[in-house]
C-alpha cells in the first residue's frame, strides 16, 4: 500500500522491555507526521501532553482532485486547535530544494532527533550507516537533509 499512495502508519516503541508492538491510542509521546493531513489523521494516538512534529507539505490524493472529498483547509492549525502541541514546517519544500522529495524522510527524522531520550547524533549515524551499506552516494545529501530538519524544528519550536 505504501507504494500505491495509501495510508502508511508505523508504531515505534522502545524501552527496557517492549511487549505489544502496538501503541494504544492516546498514549504516544511523539507523533511524526510526514504529511500535513496525515498528522491530523493520527493525532488521537498522542497522549494529552504529547508533541506532534508535522510536515506542512501536502500530498493531495486523487479522491480530492476528483472532488469526492475536501482537503482540510489547514491541517496543522486543526491539530493545534484540538489542543495538541505542534511544531510544524515545510519539510517537503526543504527536500525539494535539496533536490529530491524523498529526502523529506531524513528531514523529518532530523526534526524529531532533539526530542528523543538519546542524542541526535545516534539517530543521524544510524540513518547514514544504512545509506552507507545500500546507497553510499546518498550519504551527504541525507546528512544535509537531517541537519536542515533539525534546524527547522528548532526554529518551529521557538515560533510555537
Amino acid at each position: 500500500m505504501a507504494q500505491r499512495g495509501g495510508v502508511v502508519s508505523s508504531h515505534l516503541r522502545f524501552g527496557a522491555k517492549v511487549l505489544s508492538p502496538q501503541i494504544t491510542p492516546g498514549t504516544a509521546d511523539l507523533l511524526l507526521g510526514f504529511e500535513a493531513a496525515e498528522g491530523m489523521r493520527w493525532r488521537h494516538m498522542l497522549r494529552a501532553d504529547g508533541l506532534a512534529l508535522i510536515n506542512s507539505g501536502r500530498l493531495v490524493p486523487p479522491v480530492v482532485d476528483l472532488g469526492l472529498y475536501d482537503y482540510p483547509e489547514d491541517p496543522v492549525a486543526a491539530v493545534r486547535a484540538a489542543g495538541t502541541r505542534v511544531f510544524s514546517f515545510d519539510a517537503s519544500a526543504i527536500a525539494s530544494e535539496l533536490g529530491d522529495a524523498r529526502l523529506g524522510n531524513s528531514v523529518m527524522l532530523g526534526a524529531i532527533s532533539d526530542y528523543l531520550p538519546f542524542s541526535a547524533q545516534v539517530l543521524e549515524q544510524c540513518i547514514l550507516k544504512r545509506f552507507a551499506t545500500k546507497k553510499p552516494a546518498l550519504i551527504e545529501l541525507n546528512r544535509q537533509a537531517f541537519a536542515a530538519g533539525r534546524a527547522a524544528a528548532a526554529q518551529a519550536a521557538q515560533a510555537a
Binding site: 500505491r4 499512495g5 486523487p62 479522491v63 482532485d65 482537503y71
Partner: protein, 622 residues
C-alpha cells in the same frame, strides 16, 4: 540481489519476523526454498535469496512452490516454502496428501495470515489447515520466536517425519524487534529412497498411511504437552487466566501483567492436559487468539469451561486497547480506560495506481465502453474498480476472472443478450491460475474478451521477477514466456490475439470495441512495463499551459495521480445546462511523460516542460 555475508552468530539484529524466519531457514541448512509472493509473506523469499549456499526460487503459484519444497524434502533435503494465507488454499490439494506420505528431509511451510486485511481479499485463519491436514502448528509471538520456532520446526519435522506449519500474522511478519541469531548447521542429505507404498498415493497405499497419520498426531499431542514452547506463567491475579497464542500473547502480557497466562507456541495439537492443569489455577479462562476460535472450540469440546469470542471481536486484530474493556466488562468493573481522543475527520487515502501506470489507459478505455461487465482479478489493476474509472465489476481470487467471465457469459439473463463480457487479468495472475480458465473458455466455446495486462511484473507485491520478465529471483536471465504464443497454444485463434500499446488510447479503444463485438474468445495483450521496474524508462515531463486549459477535466479521467485540480468553476452553457469546470495542473516533478493525458485534451493545453527527451507518438482521437 547477490548473496552477502550473513551476520556472524550471536549478533543481535533488528529484524522483522520475515527476516528472522529467513535467517533461521539459512541456519537450519535448508537447501531448497520456494514461494510465490503475497503480502505479508513476500519478504521471506526475497530475504532468503540473499543468503549464500541455498537454492531459492519464485515459483509460479503457491501449489507449485509447495510441491517443489516437498520434492526436495522427499530427496532428503531440508526445504522451506512461504505463502500468504490464501496461498495455502491454493496449495491445499498437495498439502492434504503430503500429510499422508510425510517427509524425509525437514519441510516447514510458513503461512502468513493477513489479520486485519491490510492487503488481501479475505481474512482467514490458516491454522484450520493444521486441523484439516493433521499437521503440527507453531505460532511465534515476536521476531526472536519467529527465528527460534523455525529452527525447532525443522527438528520437529524430521523427528516426526511430517510437514510443519509455521503460522505467522502480519504483525509478526512486519514488526521489527531484536533477534539474537545463531550458527548455520548443515544436514547430510540421504537422497531419494524408492518406496511406492509411501510416495505413491494410490487408494490402497493411502489407506494404509491413514492410521500412521492419526498415530503421528497423537504423538504430536504428547509432544505439545511437554514442549518448551507451551509455557505456563503463573500470576497473582487469578480472576482470569488467559490461554493465548501468537501476537495476542504480547497484548495480553502488556495489558494484564499480573494474570496467569498459558502461552501456546506449539498450538496444534492442543495440549489438553496442560490446559486442564492451567484451568485449575484460575477462576475462569479466556482464550485470546487471532482470529477464529480454534483453541477455544477445542478446549470447550473437552469440557473445559472457557470464554473467548463470546466477549472478544470475531474479526480483525486484537490489541491491548481491545482487550482492556472486554475483560473489565467481564469482571463487572467500570471501564476505566484513559479518555481517548476521537480520531479527527480526514478524507480517506485509498491506494491508487502509480503515475503513468500502463493500466491507466486500459481503465480509461474500459470506462468509455457501454453495456459491458468487467470480470476482474487480483493485482494493481483491481484498483480499476474505483474512481475515476469505475470499470471493474468483480474480483474474488487469483485467476477467477476467467471462470467468472465464462459463467457471466453462459448465465446471462435473456434481457442481457447484448452484454459484452470482458475479463481483465495481470500477467503474473494469468501464469498463477488464469491459463486454465482461458483454456476452459476456448474449449467450451465461450464468448469473452480477455485483457491480459502484461506489465512484466508482479506489480502489487513489489515487482518481483517472474517468467513474464525473463529474470530469475537473483535478477539473472531466465527463459521468458511469450504470451501471444501461449494463448494461441491454448486455442485462441490467431486473428483474435492482439498485442497493443496501452498508451495508445485510440488503438486500445478500437481493438476492444472490435473484439467485444465478435462472438468468440479473444485476447488483447498490453505490452508496457510497470513503472516501478527497471524496464520502465521515464521521459521528460509535461505541464499544463493554464492559458489554454478550458477546464474540461478530460485528463482527470485518466486517473494519473500527477494531475491535480487547482480550481473548480460552475458555468451555465448556452444550452442552459450547468457544468462544472476543472482547471488542472500537472505536478511535473512526478510526471514521467507517458503522454496519456495529452490524448483526451482537445485544446492541446498539456505541453512539455522542456525539450522532449524522446519523440512521443501521441495518437489523438478526433
Amino acid at each position: 540481489m547477490a548473496a552477502v555475508m550473513p551476520a556472524p552468530a550471536q549478533s543481535r539484529l533488528l529484524m522483522s519476523g520475515n527476516e528472522a524466519v529467513s535467517r533461521a531457514v539459512w541456519e537450519s541448512g535448508v537447501r531448497v526454498a520456494a514461494a510465490y509472493p503475497g503480502t505479508p509473506a513476500t519478504e521471506m523469499l526475497e530475504e532468503i535469496s540473499t543468503y549464500p549456499d541455498l537454492y531459492a526460487e519464485w515459483s509460479v503459484n503457491e501449489k507449485v512452490s509447495l510441491e517443489v519444497a516437498f520434492g526436495a524434502a522427499m530427496a532428503g533435503s531440508r526445504a522451506f516454502c512461504a505463502m500468504k494465507h490464501v496461498g495455502l488454499n491454493v496449495a491445499s490439494d498437495a498439502l492434504m496428501t503430503m500429510t499422508l506420505t510425510g517427509v524425509a528431509g525437514g519441510l516447514v511451510i510458513a503461512v502468513a495470515d493477513d489479520v486485519g486485511l491490510s492487503s488481501s481479499q479475505n481474512e482467514q485463519d490458516s491454522r484450520y489447515w493444521g486441523r484439516f491436514a493433521h499437521l503440527p502448528v507453531l505460532e511465534p509471538s515476536d521476531s526472536q520466536e519467529a527465528h527460534d520456532f523455525t529452527l525447532a520446526a525443522f527438528e520437529l519435522s524430521e523427528r516426526f517425519q511430517t510437514p510443519v506449519i509455521l503460522r505467522l500474522t502480519t504483525r509478526i511478519c512486519h514488526v521489527k524487534a531484536l533477534v539474537t541469531v545463531g550458527e548455520r548447521s548443515m544436514h547430510p542429505v540421504a537422497g531419494f529412497t524408492k518406496d511406492v507404498g509411501r510416495w505413491v498415493m494410490v487408494p490402497g497405499a493411502a489407506g494404509r498411511r491413514l492410521p500412521l497419520m492419526f498415530e503421528r498426531e497423537s504423538r504430536l499431542r504428547s509432544e505439545a504437552e511437554v514442549s518448551p514452547f507451551n509455557v505456563l506463567e503463573t500470576g497473582a491475579d487469578r480472576r482470569v487466566g488467559f490461554v493465548t497464542s501468537g501476537p495476542a500473547y504480547m497484548h495480553v502480557r502488556e495489558r494484564f501483567p499480573d494474570a496467569p497466562v498459558l502461552k501456546l507456541g506449539f498450538s496444534y495439537p492442543v495440549p489438553f492436559e496442560l490446559v486442564r492443569k492451567f484451568a485449575d489455577q484460575c477462576d475462569q479462562l479466556v482464550v485470546v487468539e487471532e482470529v477464529e476460535p480454534l483453541i477455544e472450540t477445542e478446549i470447550k469440546a473437552q469440557g473445559i469451561a472457557a470464554l473467548g469470542k463470546d466477549i472478544l471481536p470475531r474479526s480483525g486484530e486484537l490489541s491491548p486497547a481491545v482487550l482492556g474493556p472486554a475483560i473489565a466488562r467481564l469482571l463487572g468493573e467500570t471501564v476505566a480506560e484513559a479518555p481517548v481522543a476521537t480520531p479527527m475527520q480526514v478524507f480517506p487515502r485509498p491506494p491508487t495506481m502509480c503515475v503513468a501506470c500502463p493500466h491507466l489507459g486500459v481503465y480509461y478505455t474500459l470506462a468509455q465502453l457501454r453495456n459491458v461487465t468487467v470480470s476482474g482479478d487480483i493485482g494493481c489493476y483491481t484498483l480499476g474498480f474505483g474512481q475515476p474509472w469505475n470499470a471493474l465489476d468483480a474480483c474474488i481470487s487469483m485467476g477467477a476472472s476467467m471462470g467468472m467471465a465464462h459463467g457471466l457469459d453462459k448465465g446471462r439473463a435473456d434481457s442481457e443478450k447484448d452484454k459484452k463480457i470482458v475479463a481483465v487479468i495481470g500477467d503474473s495472475t494469468f501464469m498463477h491460475m488464469g491459463m486454465q480458465g482461458l483454456l476452459n473458455i476456448v474449449y467450451n466455446r465461450g464468448n469473452v474478451t480477455v485483457l491480459l495486462l502484461d506489465n512484466r511484473a508482479v506489480g502489487m507485491t513489489g515487482g518481483q521477477n517472474n517468467p513474464g520478465n525473463g529474470h530469475g529471483i537473483h535478477g539473472e536471465d531466465a527463459p521468458r514466456v511469450d504470451f501471444a504464443n501461449l494463448v494461441r497454444a491454448l486455442g485462441v485463434r490467431d486473428e483474435r490475439v492482439h498485442v497493443v500499446d496501452p498508451y495508445e488510447l485510440p488503438t486500445l479503444f478500437k481493438t476492444l470495441r472490435q473484439e467485444t463485438k465478435i462472438a468468440e474468445p479473444s485476447v488483447i495483450i498490453t505490452n508496457r512495463p510497470c513503472v516501478l521496474t527497471d524496464d520502465f524508462k521515464a521521459r521528460s515531463p509535461f505541464m499544463v499551459d493554464s492559458d489554454k486549459c478550458t477546464g474540461c477535466g478530460n485528463c482527470v479521467d485518466i486517473g494519473c495521480p500527477a494531475i491535480h485540480v487547482t480550481r473548480r468553476e460552475k458555468v451555465i452553457k448556452n444550452s442552459g445546462k450547468e457544468v462544472e469546470l476543472n482547471f488542472v495542473r500537472i505536478e511535473s516533478s512526478a510526471c514521467t511523460g507517458c503522454g496519456l493525458c495529452l490524448q483526451p485534451c482537445a485544446p492541446d493545453a498539456i505541453v512539455p516542460v522542456g525539450e522532449l527527451s524522446m519523440p512521443i507518438h501521441v495518437v489523438k482521437k478526433n
